[in-house]
């Protein structure tokens, strides 16, 4: 997490968030599924997930969203700026037992609203974008 307070004035279009690598273990995905009341086969069991036509157990979409949300809130740090919106699209399953890469960059600034828009995504080891999203961050005066 950033220890610095990001100031609106210092944010520039093209600024990067990440890249940040994260090894997503089966145990971590199962722990999330258990804690969030999502203990179903597709998130917990390779054999059962394959019976559903999946390549193996997959990461819940909500967990992918939470990981991308954390990329943005880590960038914000503990200052007053606040993420006001996050949209995600699940393009490909995020498979545990792999390293994923989290990235983003600033695409737009609105000086009147003091907001910035950010493109964010989760990439596989093969540089395939598995989950894509956009976020808006508001910087109060």
């Amino acid at each position: 997490m950033s220890q610095e307070t990001i100031l609106y004035e210092n944010v520039n279009i093209g600024d990067a968030l990440g890249p940040s690598e994260m090894y997503l273990s089966r145990d971590q995905v199962r722990a999330y599924a258990k804690a969030m009341g999502m203990w179903v086969a597709r998130f917990t069991d390779d054999v059962e997930a394959r019976k559903e036509g999946l390549p193996g157990m997959i990461t819940p979409g909500n967990m992918s969203l939470a990981i991308l949300s954390k990329l943005v809130t880590d960038w914000i740090g503990s200052g007053k700026a606040k993420m006001t919106r996050l949209g995600t699209t699940y393009r490909q399953p995020v498979l545990p037992d792999h390293t994923i890469v989290l990235q983003g960059f600033i695409t737009h600034k609105n000086d009147q609203e003091r907001t910035v828009d950010v493109d964010v995504w989760i990439e596989s080891e093969d540089a395939e974008r598995l989950v894509i999203g956009t976020a808006t961050v508001h910087f109060p005066k």
């Binding site: 997490m1 994260m22 971590q28 722990a31 999330y32 804690a35 969030m36 009341g37 979409g61 909500n62 967990m63 969203l65 939470a66 990981i67 949300s69 954390k70 809130t73 880590d74 503990s78 200052g79 007053k80 606040k82 993420m83 006001t84 919106r85 996050l86 949209g87 995600t88 699209t89 699940y90 999203g133």
Partner: protein, 148 residues
């Protein structure tokens, strides 16, 4: 293909859940499973000095609240089985320990798209989260995709 549905379902609240209490332990469990160490969400002392004056849940905690068991009965189906295509979340206010969160859901929109793999129908369900004071916490749009 024309998408046929009763337009009266758009905007009509079909389900409101019972309030779900949130405590510090539930927030801690969430931050632990996603590896979030931000002191605003993990350290009550540090959070007290932060912008919200106390511990808050990470914004994405808003999507962890489950709709009621009848939720999927109200999601219109088109063609083959649908799946979760994505979410759009508007974060209005933070969730704090001690809050009780209620979800109220309606069909926001239904639309069709044609891609390389064929025709798809998207059903967007909006769940609005409110706390025990009736304050809106977040709007969560669930986007379900059906291949026709």
């Amino acid at each position: 293909m024309a998408v046929n549905y009763d337009p009266a379902i758009i905007g009509r609240v079909f389900e409101t859940t019972d309030p779900v209490p949130v405590d510090a332990a539930a927030i801690a469990k969430f931050t632990e499973t996603i590896g979030d160490t931000n002191p605003l969400h993990t350290d009550p002392e540090a959070a007290r000095k932060g912008p919200y004056g106390g511990l808050t849940a990470p914004p994405s905690f808003a999507v962890t609240f489950r709709n009621g068991r009848h939720f999927f009965e109200h999601v219109p189906r088109f063609g083959r089985a649908g799946f979760d295509a994505g979410k759009d979340v508007e974060f209005v206010a933070p969730i704090r320990p001690g809050d009780s969160i209620t979800l109220s859901s309606h069909v926001k929109e239904i639309y069709e798209k044609t891609g390389r793999s064929g025709s798809m129908v998207f059903v967007v369900i909006r769940s609005t989260l409110t706390n025990q004071r009736g304050e809106v916490i977040a709007h969560v749009d669930h986007r379900f995709m059906n291949r026709t």
